[in-house]
């Protein structure tokens, strides 16, 4: 029975490793970008761009900037603020004192 168990484990791994490679090949086919000859770069003269091109560039920049966000520590902290006492910011001295009836 030990051999049955060992062969079975090996078969499970064999089938699933085969699937890993099939899926990797699959992913490679779908994610590779078509090879294109680099087009000759033409100098852009200001004012030559169409309105649609400007809109497309602006949208792409907006989407790119929108996707960017900075990484924070994600730890929320509430800092207690300590102030030295001063009669200038004392609330009691800022209020109008009512006359004491004696």
């Amino acid at each position: 029975m030990l051999w049955v168990a060992l062969i079975s484990i090996c078969l499970v791994f064999f089938v699933l490793v085969l699937l890993v490679y099939v899926m990797k090949l699959f992913g490679w086919i779908f994610t590779r970008k078509p090879q294109q000859a680099p087009a000759a770069v033409k100098p852009v003269v200001q004012g030559q761009l169409h309105e649609e091109e400007i809109a497309a560039i602006a949208t792409a920049l907006k989407l790119y900037k929108g996707a960017l966000h900075d990484r924070e520590s994600e730890v929320l902290t509430i800092l207690s603020i300590k102030r030295a006492y001063s009669p200038w910011n004392s609330k009691i001295h800022g209020l109008t004192q009512l006359p004491d009836r004696k």
Partner: protein, 403 residues
């Protein structure tokens, strides 16, 4: 006239006696009558767990009610003798069968688990697995628990077929466990189904201590690289490719994998929305009722109340634990060979034991305990759905070796 009416007093007495003997209450005093009482209380306990604590209620509820019905003496809803020896006795079937006997044919012939897999396929998103195919390895590693438990059960005196059925509990996949057990050792179907679904409900209790024991704080805090987007064409081709490859390599796993991928293709192709919704909802719900009731019906006092059941429960939890541990350990091993930016958080390895999506949620929760900004859920869904494929492959292998 009066004499005529009262002359058949013997007949009346006999009829009354017959009636009293036919009631279930007398059945409690017959042989194994005490067992029926115990089983009724077990059914009540499982109903309590399902209703009060929501332990896999969709299945545990129906299993418990089936268990209750089958253990009511005299109800004659289910007859073990019609399925004795692992096959259906058609010659006496129609004359003796009760309601649950007819419904049980769907389990016996392997129909219900496959229909459930159609629904599971239609509800599963294989995107994370397509984006990160290495998840298949974690799904494979988590199946090691099945085979270690198989050896343990065999060493404890179970037959090879019974040991294989007990081992499959470690796959944490209810329909697969039921499918394999109904083929290999139908006499253990009740205890194995109860153990499998109970432990699946207990995944958040069983897995975290093992995951924490096998990983360091630093490993648990690993952030994984964002998965690449998966195109619709890839999603459509995936079920076709997997179904063809596995059916060619392992024809015994073809019913389960074929149905799983059929359901998934229905969802992903987008042109049969009505069918996809039907298999996810109506069909799935109807089959769950039939499956639960009939699997519960196999848990008769004779089949359930013995030391063997206790052994199955203990071995089942060990299978789960070992599956979890081997998934985590393989993820750690993979990290030894991975570049820094491709490191895997070992917590997602435990999700390789199917139990979709509970096991993936456990990985997410444990990961967030170390690093609140770490979102592992989608990464864990890869091994999680790979585990479904892996356990079906393991069941197919066991079926072809031991069937």
């Amino acid at each position: 006239m009066w004499t005529l009416l009262t002359s058949n007093s013997n007949f009346v007495g006999e009829s009354l006696m017959k009636f009293v003997e036919s009631t279930g209450i007398v059945g409690f005093f017959s042989s194994m009558g005490w067992g029926s009482v115990v089983m009724i209380f077990v059914a009540f306990f499982l109903l309590y767990l399902a209703i009060r604590h929501k332990f896999e209620p969709l299945l545990l509820f129906t299993i418990a009610f089936g268990m209750l019905l089958t253990n009511l003496p005299g109800a004659n809803l289910y007859h073990t003798e019609l399925f004795a020896g692992g096959h259906v006795h058609w010659d006496i079937f129609v004359a003796n069968a009760g309601l649950l006997d007819y419904l049980y044919l769907g389990v016996k012939l392997g129909i219900y688990p496959c229909l459930i897999f159609v629904g599971v396929g239609a509800m599963t998103d294989f995107g994370p697995l397509i984006a990160n195919p290495k998840s298949f390895l974690l799904g494979a590693a988590a199946q090691i628990g099945i085979f270690v438990t198989f050896l343990g059960a065999y060493a404890l005196g179970f037959t090879p077929a019974q040991a294989g059925s007990i081992g499959i509990i470690g796959g944490a996949d209810g329909p697969t466990a039921i499918y394999l057990t109904s083929m290999l050792s139908p006499e253990l179907l009740g205890p194995i189904a109860v153990a499998a679904y109970s432990y699946m409900a207990l995944v958040p209790v069983i897995q975290p201590p093992i995951m924490r024991a096998l990983t360091t704080k630093k490993e648990r805090a690993i952030r994984m690289r964002t998965l690449r987007p998966v195109s619709k064409l890839e999603r459509i081709l995936f079920p076709l490719i997997i179904a063809v490859i596995i059916a060619l390599l392992l024809p015994s796993a073809a019913p389960l994998i074929g149905c799983l991928m059929l359901g998934n293709l229905m969802k992903e192709c987008g042109v049969v929305d009505r069918l996809s919704k039907t298999v996810q909802n109506e069909l799935m719900n109807i089959v769950v009722i039939f499956l639960g009731l009939t699997v519960g019906a196999t848990a008769t006092a004779e089949a359930f109340l013995n030391v063997r059941t206790l052994g199955i429960l203990v071995l089942g939890v060990l299978a789960f634990a070992m599956g979890t541990a081997s998934g985590v350990l393989l993820a750690k091993l993979m990290n030894l060979f991975a570049k820094e930016e491709n490191k895997i958080n070992p917590l997602i390895g435990s999700a390789g034991v199917s139990a979709v999506p509970m096991a993936a949620r456990v990985s997410q929760t444990e990961g967030q305990k170390e690093n609140p900004g770490n979102y592992l859920l989608m990464h864990a869904m890869g091994p999680n759905v790979a585990g479904v494929v892996g356990s079906a492959v393991a069941a197919g292998i066991l079926l072809s070796f031991l069937g």
